[in-house]
């Protein structure tokens, strides 16, 4: 696993599994096998590792995000997805490895949680103009894009979870980023709104050419919207173009045919977690859209 093949999936049981075909679809990332960060990428990291209290949180993680590309991180709870994002954003320091950020990097960030203290009085409009040179018309336009035009004069502390997420996304877009980082952006957004948000992000990516790093639990949407998927379980155990990854025997076994139990199997496979009867434990991440077992394969789009 050291040279990060592009679409090998979790090769613990099949270290030499049939992954040759996967390389065909790889558009970028040809420097990934090198140990040096990719200078062309917006953000490039090599061999990132992090420990907390003797526990391995991340180990040997390589990742590149280039302009115009949507990269999605998937993986079970506790896989280190959010931690990896925090390292890439510079919110936390890694214990080992290298991160290179392009000099002109301009990040738009949508954190997992956006809870505003009620003690702070601030309207949405003010929040969206803090540190930015924007007029009310710009703000109205971007709020319309994310479907939250009606909240412009509201207090931040009065927003619902979904509205808050849209407002932070609006701020991220207003910054004219070349890298958009979204950590589970659809929390508190209903299914229709979710599909719309992904469509919007995909469209803006095409229009503006920014790179996107997405953390998600939702395999349906991930498969439809991503250019590249990285599945993480403390190390990168799977990486590649969604279609190819989705056809990969390992992937199908983990996420496809048995999607209903995908994460449970996944954890079982890697962590050997069992309940008292010896069956794989149901994973806590049941906020994943649990689909019926047949026909739930990824890559068919977010219906």
């Amino acid at each position: 696993m050291t040279d990060t093949p592009h679409a090998t999936c979790c090769g613990h049981h099949h270290p030499h599994g049939p992954h040759g075909k996967a390389h065909d679809h790889c558009g970028h990332e040809h420097a990934a096998a090198a140990r040096e960060p990719d200078a062309m990428a917006l953000v490039s990291a090599r061999a990132l590792s992090l420990r907390r209290g003797g526990r391995v949180i991340l180990e040997g993680v390589d990742i590149d995000i280039v302009a115009g590309e949507i990269v999605t991180l998937i993986g079970p709870n506790g896989a280190g997805k959010t931690t990896l994002v925090r390292l890439l954003l510079g919110l936390e320091a890694a214990d080992g490895g290298q991160i290179r950020r392009r000099e002109d990097l301009r990040i738009g960030y949508v954190p997992q949680r956006f809870d505003i203290d009620r003690a702070l009085p601030m309207t949405v409009e003010r929040f969206l103009s803090l540190g930015l040179d924007v007029r009310r018309a710009d703000i109205t336009a971007v709020l319309r894009d994310v479907g939250a035009e009606h909240v412009i004069d509201r207090q931040l502390a009065q927003l619902s979870g979904g509205e808050g997420q849209r407002v932070v996304l609006a701020r991220a877009l207003l910054r004219r980023p070349n890298l958009l980082v979204l950590d589970e952006p659809v929390r508190g957004v209903d299914a229709t709104g979710e599909a719309e948000l992904y469509t919007l992000i995909g469209r803006l990516r095409t229009e503006r050419g920014f790179g996107v790093l997405l953390v998600s639990h939702d395999l349906h949407v991930v498969m439809a919207a991503s250019d590249r998927v990285l599945c993480l379980n403390r190390h990168v155990c799977c990486s590649g173009v969604p279609k190819t990854v989705a056809k990969h025997p390992e992937y199908v076994r983990l996420f496809g045919a048995e999607m209903a139990r995908a994460f449970a199997i996944y954890e079982h496979h890697h962590d050997h977690a069992h309940d008292l009867a010896g069956r794989p434990m149901p994973d806590a991440s049941t906020d994943t859209q649990v689909a019926p077992t047949s026909g739930a394969r990824g890559g068919e789009g977010a219906a």
């Binding site: 990040i107 954190p111 505003i116 203290d117 003690a119 009085p121 003010r126 540190g131 932070v168």
Partner: protein, 266 residues
């Protein structure tokens, strides 16, 4: 006309009210009341330090308050105890140490009450210079780092991910807080300094729709509290600092109750 000592008290407290307004609002927004409280109470060790080495109280209080802030920051990184317990431990511990050290150094005749609750009517010309000079400095620096401070107050990680130098801005803010505590300590004492910061801000919150409005209303509340508190003190012979804080607390309670009744409890 006002007596000179009363006039000096008024000028000192009004200066402090203006400095305390933006800082108090920031302390409330960032939930740092207990943090500030700990810095202030550790400052009694600064008083002891100045008794020991004979330097100026304001300077040694400033130094000790900064050291306390640093210690709190270091201890906030450990994960054995939650931060409020650590702060509780530090603030009671340093208060006890401060009382003992002060009494040991100054002898039994020491005016502990003066250090704990301040003595606003003993304000000298030098104190006034400290308050207004330090106050202008604090407000000037705040003006320049206001926007990054606001962004950190809204969402710290978002601000840092967007490129706000979080560590430096927060360090600057703590320095400003330490300066304010140092110049206020003679007037309000280590036990009432933080109340003077956060109580007016709490009273202002229900009436504000923007951060700057909240600061302006906080300043108005604090000025009103100072005038009313000193009047109460002059009339009833109550100690000045406690009289001001009592009036402010009454205003804050009234404001919160009124906001609750009016359904504006946002």
């Amino acid at each position: 006309m006002l007596e000179p000592f009363l006039l000096r008290a008024l000028v000192a407290a009004l200066g402090l009210a203006l400095v305390a307004a933006p800082l108090g609002a920031l302390v409330v927004w960032q939930r740092m009341a207990y943090f500030g409280e700990t810095m202030a109470q550790a400052s009694l060790l600064g008083v002891a330090l100045s008794l020991a080495v004979g330097g100026d109280v304001t300077v040694s209080v400033l130094v000790v308050a900064m050291l306390a802030a640093l210690l709190i920051l270091l201890l906030s990184r450990q994960r054995v105890l939650p931060l409020d317990s650590v702060l509780g431990l530090l603030h009671h511990g340093s208060l006890a140490a401060g009382v003992i050290a002060t009494a040991a150094l100054a002898g039994p005749s020491v005016d502990l009450l003066g250090y704990l609750f301040g003595d606003i009517f003993a304000v000298s010309q030098t104190d006034l210079a400290w308050i207004w000079g330090g106050g202008v400095l604090v407000l000037g620096v705040l003006y320049f780092i206001w926007q990054p401070l606001l962004r950190l107050a809204v969402h710290e990680e978002l601000a840092i991910a967007e490129g706000v130098p979080g560590g430096r801005i927060k360090a600057a803010f703590m320095l400003l807080l330490a300066i304010t505590i140092a110049i206020a300590i003679k007037i309000l004492g280590i036990l009432l300094v933080i109340a003077f910061l956060i109580v007016p801000a709490a009273a202002a919150r229900p009436f504000a729709r923007t951060p700057e409005q909240m600061v302006a209303i906080t300043a108005l509340v604090a000025v009103a509290g100072v005038v009313a508190g000193l009047a109460l003190s002059a009339r009833s012979d109550a100690p000045g600092g406690p009289a001001i804080v009592l009036v402010l607390a009454a205003m804050a309670l009234t404001s919160l109750v009124r906001a609750r009744i009016a359904g504006r409890g946002d």
